[in-house]
Symmetry: C2
Subunit: 330 residues, 2 copies
């Protein structure tokens, strides 16, 4: 280590009195005699040698880094997802390099381009750009969004979740159901929640309505709608399935201001169940997305060499958790 900079394999080789290739093999689990290995390890220890990942990456084209592209990590669903992805990647010896898009389609594309600039071994993205270009020289797994036929998509069983929510509400004695949604205009997986909900209602012959808004509309239209459906202090619906937990709490508050109580007067079921994965009691009754499993699956698929016989949509099972906005006891 004559220079001020970090010691290299060459230094270790000289110190240990072995050839360069031998040092390399030691750090790559090649077959090296016991005594030589000892010597190399001792020399490396003494010199404080660390493998230079950039040189390694240059040779191998493997970086042990994965880019994760998310809208944000302030929304707790995303932050729990990010944390689980990070842990799943770490477990497999990979590092996570995080990009935040703030729902900007251009930023999504920009980050994915950057990531493809051969600095990662794969990309996991939750994107809203319907025209996203994904080069095929690098593995890509999409979360909750269909991107293209050859991009695997990992998602919760949103359709089944919609069915389950409706089923639970009916089991809890509800007879007139309502589905509420607010979200991005991009037709995503969450549309399927509505379809599942409607499907169950149709088969079970349950009265139901749906109201879907865009983010830009804000919550006010919900208030108008609900107000119009209150007659003599009584809401027309006795069960509501809201497409997220956040919305559920908002609706509960709104109903309270209108004199309608949940779960006494109307039962509410949300979707996500993020609080559960944060180690807290769910803030509302909810359909729980299996976030840890979703993260594991994304990583598994991304890092698994063999992508041949993979369905393009991987659907993971959801479950129901009572949480105070329905009349069942936990």
């Amino acid at each position: 280590m004559r220079r001020g900079s970090a010691p290299t394999m060459k230094d270790v080789a000289r110190e240990a009195g072995v050839a360069l290739g031998t040092v390399s093999k030691v750090f790559n689990n090649g077959s090296v005699g016991k005594e030589y290995r000892q010597r190399v390890l001792a020399a490396a220890e003494q010199l404080g040698y660390q493998v230079n990942n950039y040189a390694r990456g240059l040779k191998t084209n493997r970086t042990y880094a994965v880019a994760v592209v998310l809208p944000n990590i302030i929304n707790s669903f995303f932050s729990v997802l990010a944390q689980n992805l990070c842990q799943a990647l770490t477990k497999r010896g990979y590092r996570m390099f995080l990009s935040i898009t703030d729902f900007d389609p251009e930023a999504e594309q920009r980050y994915i381009h950057m990531a493809q600039q051969n600095q990662v071994d794969g990309i996991i993205g939750l994107t809203y750009n319907p025209e996203l270009q994904v080069a095929d020289n690098i593995p890509f797994v999409s979360f909750d969004r269909y991107v293209s036929p050859d991009v695997p998509c990992v998602a919760s069983d949103n359709f089944g979740g919609g069915q389950l929510a409706a089923k639970k509400l009916v089991e809890l004695g509800c007879e007139r159901l309502l589905f509420l949604r607010i979200g991005s205009t991009v037709a995503g997986e969450s549309d399927k929640r509505r379809n599942g909900f409607k499907s169950f209602c149709r088969v079970a012959k349950v009265e139901h309505d749906t109201l879907c808004l865009c983010d830009s509309d804000g919550y006010e239209p919900f208030r108008t709608f609900l107000q119009a459906h209150i007659h003599q202090g009584k809401l027309d619906y006795d069960g509501i399935f809201c497409c997220t937990d956040v919305l559920t709490l908002e609706i509960q508050k709104m109903l309270g201001e209108l004199g309608v109580r949940a779960p006494e007067d109307v039962q509410l079921i949300g979707f996500d169940g993020t609080a559960i994965h944060m180690g807290r009691a769910p803030e509302c009754s909810t359909i729980v997305q299996p976030i840890p499993l979703l993260a594991e699956t994304c990583v598994d698929i991304l890092l698994n060499e063999d992508k041949s016989d993979l369905p393009s949509l991987i659907c993971l099972p959801v479950s129901y958790a009572p949480g105070g906005t329905t009349r069942d006891k936990a």
Copy 2:
């Protein structure tokens, strides 16, 4: 691009009919004649050339990546911080590589070692390992924790925040104050909140008590304490400063169960104000940490070459935000 792999500068040079060094200069803003630059750019475009960051990193020892080491990103303070750090880094053309330690001191040390394995240009860490070893070959900025004399530490003005909380409570008419804290056993910056609180009380000659617990104790000791200080349905204290917003909400709930209402019977002020940075109304009255500024400052200091005349502790100003657990109107 004869191989299946990505085109290199050599390919671009051949395609453009120029020398290798010329291509390099084009991508590094070296002085290149207009015509040559055109030719190179055109060839690069046509071939879909992208700079190989690993080769570049190998030569330059600059990676344009920064490691951020946090306990988790589930706690919303950390997730907001992480998001702001990510954005501040992106703005300066750096990528963020995130590690989650789950408060494990060994993991902290491991990640910092990994990061030093010449794969990042710097590290921003929020750590709890009192014996953390930080090599000096790579810039390190600590958040909210003193690490060693030559590691700059960026933190909120916790002492001033403690003073401010006490001052506000007094202004709001409180006469018997209480400070509550629960946290890690590592003496961190947040101890200063207590000191600031006590300092103000002492100077202003205000009656006050403090109760500090460790994470492992759980919340129950608070209940016992509070219960012991309720006489004839009335709490001995009329103002409480809790060391985080999370604790504040917990205490509010606990008090409610004991028949004491906030803000009617007792006024509560928390610390963090994270909700504000999430675009929401604060859940409780609080001392707001300037998270975006904290993040910017961390990044500024980390990437600023000149670390010579830098104070080892950079203290950023906090502010007060009313939020429903005090009797002032916003």
